[in-house]
Symmetry: C2
Subunit: 217 residues, 2 copies
């Protein structure tokens, strides 16, 4: 039975490995890396602690693997599909879709956990700080900056410092995302913060757009 081959091949090997990663991410993101014990992880997946050492050299390697996944996660790839294709969309629509991507991250379990892991370990783990800074912050702000520069040249928005605009557009989105993750921790309502993502884009666009009425003359 080749079908069973495939099944068991998936069940064996990499399956428990990915289960370890999944369980570890859940625990690390809620208790923190240091406070999570190897026994916690094993216990949560109904296995003895020594079993984990068939898949990972040690506890640190589990974290390192999770951190590596961060690079390819949605958190870091806000512009993933967008970027060039949608560049010719109406300006505000593009900004809104970026804001929505931010917003949705908070409501996907995997991404939310990765974000919480990032926030909790960023002050202790130099590698995480590096990924945050280069991939999450710098890269996205640079792309935003380029986007605003194009918009200025196309006379869609007022001219100014594109990098400043990028930072001012980015930072509230980051802040609201953090607020959502904090509110969800205490099971509080997130609705008022969630609406801020769109309000931010509305206000931001109103402030930078070139008024159409002046094209009359």
């Amino acid at each position: 039975m080749s079908e069973q081959n495939v099944n068991t091949a998936l069940l064996r090997g990499s399956n428990t490995k990915s289960k370890i990663l999944k369980t570890s991410l859940k625990l690390f993101s809620s208790k923190g890396f240091k406070a999570t014990t190897v026994r916690d992880i094993a216990g949560a997946m109904g296995v003895k602690q020594s079993a984990l050492y068939n898949h990972f050299k040690n506890k640190d390697e589990i974290l390192e693997t999770l951190v590596s996944e961060l690079t390819s996660s949605a958190i870091v790839r806000i512009f993933a599909d967008k970027d060039t294709q949608e560049l010719h969309k109406e300006g505000k629509t593009l900004l809104m879709s970026i804001a929505t991507t931010f917003k949705l991250i908070s409501f996907d379990g995997q991404n939310e956990a990765l974000f919480k892991l990032l926030m909790q370990e960023i002050y202790r783990n130099e590698r995480i700080r590096e990924i945050y800074n280069e991939h999450f912050y710098q890269e996205n702000v640079k792309k935003l900056s380029g986007l605003f520069f194009s918009m200025m040249q196309n006379e869609m928005i007022k001219s100014g410092d594109p990098l400043l605009l990028a930072n001012e557009f980015f930072s509230p989105l980051f802040f609201y995302q953090m607020q959502v993750s904090l509110l969800k921790l205490d099971k509080k309502s997130t609705s008022s913060v969630v609406s801020m993502f769109e309000k931010h884009v509305d206000l931001f666009w109103d402030n930078i757009k070139i008024e159409k009425q002046s094209t009359l003359f």
Copy 2:
């Protein structure tokens, strides 16, 4: 010798207690609470671990005491001296002084450590989350909101949603403050971020102010 009395009174009792707090804050804010051992704290102040238990019931009580101090720290009291007296200042000047307060926090050792402690433990410590949310976020945003409302009534700025404006003014300041603390960790230059505090106020004010030229007619 009454002079010696005063000296030894200061040396005894509360002095070692405050030294424990100072040392603990330094260690907690750089390694995290869980990763800092009682032996670390005692060792850093040249004393044996058991000595700490004459001043605090346990390790948690040290953290709780530090967290309590948070409520009265500059981090939480952005509006401390400002508020009512300066309300009649020119609008932009007031906003700029608030932004400067934010900026200066990152460059005062004590406040910087408290901010890092806050950021590192906010996902694990419910009390810290509560203080952050009520005193640092809600309270300041509410005050900002009232400020913008007054400015709208005095026709200093365009009318709109004051709470939205407050959030949009607050969130970049918070973000830049976090950026500074992260850059300083890796001993990187903070100059480009530091200049953002002022640029933020400049741009923000330009967007909300009522153009003076229209008062000509």
